[in-house]
Symmetry: C2
Subunit: 359 residues, 2 copies
């Protein structure tokens, strides 16, 4: 695989299946020439599409399977019954070192369960998190967890902070990314016990980012920090709320612009700017839920994505694999765990020492 990056694709995942996956791979290949693909799924559907993209066909191998995980299958059922599914075979390709990473637009719960079972977590990571890039006023930020873990203890939140920081540093090139814990106020006493404990740990350890304290919901789109850390329930709701509000604003703007001929003409003149706004906020640009913390690179494309959206999920996966994210994370996690051990040892030795009596 020298010089090449091989991507295993679950060609049957997502609402459009191969019709988004194959042209999506073609788009990604245009942007990154060293990609190679292994496509898993129904070859009768994949191959006619592939024939339309000769350059892509040259660098792709199709592995036929009749089975696909259904979008509403429960993760446990998918695990047991999906051994020959396109999703599972694509993940296997990564664990067998045939591919550098896997991308699927299929059932999130099934993908997470299979990826965890097959690829395993990196040493020191309790549970993987789903991370994504988000647009803000002047830069892209990373946010996690977006739905893998409904409830998170303080150690998981700390691990997410490390995962997010290493991602921002290695993949996005921030030398010292700032990390905020999502809360309902910035004062120390605010929020759950878990989050306050996570804040205390992040305040005392050395890690690849810089702990910036508690942040609130409005800080996410304002880009107050480079990495937003939260539990999967809150993260999922916040992300989807943000997507919804962005859509609402566009809808209302369009409606208002159509209400008068003068406004319509104005909008026509400002079309270029409005298109740029739309392009900059386009959720397809930010498509790709990265499963961070696994010993292998796995990226989830949104089920409703078209080829352009799917191509971005491929490019995100390629970037993580290319920059050796997982090796870096493993080293950082080991370092932080050693620090915590030292701190705990210091605390217990202090307790053991007899205290001087105050006369």
């Amino acid at each position: 695989m020298s010089g090449h990056l091989t991507i295993a694709l679950d060609a049957m995942g997502g609402d459009l299946g191969p019709e988004a996956v194959v042209p999506g791979a073609a788009l990604a290949l245009q942007k990154k020439k060293n990609l190679r693909f292994m496509m898993y799924g129904d070859s009768k559907k994949i191959e006619p599409l592939l024939a339309q993209y000769p350059k892509l066909a040259k660098v792709s191998v199709v592995h036929h399977t009749d089975f696909a995980v259904s979008p509403h299958e429960k993760p446990g059922v998918a695990l047991r019954a999906g051994r020959h599914s396109s999703m599972r075979l694509a993940i296997n390709a990564v664990s067998e070192k045939q591919a550098h990473c896997v991308v699927s637009g299929g059932n999130t719960g099934a993908l997470m369960a299979m990826a965890k079972m097959v690829l395993k977590c990196l040493p020191g990571i309790e549970r993987p998190a789903i991370a994504s890039l988000l647009p803000t006023v002047d830069k892209e930020i990373v946010m996690l967890d977006l739905g893998a873990n409904l409830e998170c203890n303080s150690e998981m939140l700390v691990q997410f902070a490390i995962l997010g920081s290493v991602y921002a540093r290695v993949v996005r090139g921030h030398s010292q990314p700032s990390v905020g814990l999502l809360n309902i106020g910035s004062e120390d006493a605010k929020g759950h016990e878990e989050i306050r404990e996570a804040a205390a740990i992040l305040g005392r350890i050395q890690f690849p980012g810089k702990y910036a304290g508690f942040i609130e919901g409005n800080d996410i789109p304002m880009g107050t920090v480079d990495v937003v850390v939260t539990d999967g329930f809150t993260g999922n709701v916040a992300l989807k709320t943000a997507e919804g509000v962005s859509k609402l604003m566009t809808t209302v703007l369009k409606k208002k612009l159509k209400e008068s001929p003068l406004a319509m003409f104005g909008a026509f003149l400002a079309m270029g700017a409005l298109k740029k706004l739309k392009a900059e906020m386009d959720p397809r640009r930010y498509n790709g839920g990265m499963f961070l913390g696994l010993d292998g690179v796995c990226v989830k494309s949104h089920g409703g994505m078209d080829a352009f959206g799917f191509s971005n999920a491929i490019l995100h996966a390629a970037e993580i694999a290319d920059k050796n994210f997982n090796v870096r994370v493993a080293a950082e996690i080991a370092e932080v765990m050693a620090q915590e051990q030292r701190i705990k040892a210091e605390i217990s030795s202090e307790i053991d020492e007899p205290k001087e009596m105050v006369s």
Copy 2:
């Protein structure tokens, strides 16, 4: 107080204090002539402002106090030390039936703690929730809890659903408001145990709304339901994220429109439409966190609000008091509790009855 609605105002609350409260009251009075005001705070600051609004001055009584709750005071401290504060005296006016409702722009935690202690919860309500109106594509919806309760059990979520439904019905005029539980997916198996249990209860009881199932973050701005129910942590993060994204969109739109002279000219022509968009999404229109579930009407104005924002908090409070919201809620809660008792009794009598043997 016949025919009049008397509003007790904490004139010292919020970043601007009396400078937002007094002109805010004047604006509210323009829209609703039957308002009367009791203003609590520093009379040396209130009276000169009041002198500028002769109509308001005629219907207002100023009660001087030297004390005000500081914005960062912990609720417990405010409770003990704030007995003579403008906030506390304004709440007392409601419990002593001098006023129909109280509005404050002060410290949320302190206001909630004081209001709960002085006004008490309605019978059957465990904890009050903070509710607010939000703009969506084609209507306003109600969302709660927005920050009073970090963690909520299933019964609290059910109570919030009832509070929100009665509000939507009595105050907003929806005959049978649809109620959604905020979750990370719409399938039954998604989410915390508390939320799944709340869903089961809402599915079997009769209440003033119609249970519409689980909804996701993007459903909030799309207006999928009339009432969104969630815990205070998630609700607070979602609300602030929505505010932030709305601001981000406006900022990026402005930036893009300034990038070319043609776009600027277009924006100039479309100015009316852009202004309408801004007005429709203006957070000041939706200002007023309503503390639902208390035996008395208490509304929190956002601390950063100006006079226009504060006037809307006053009008929301007046509407709730005017339409006898609390009396209706108390009746509905009693009805639901009786239903649950009947259901529990039926279940236990079924268990007691000897089952027929299958031969």
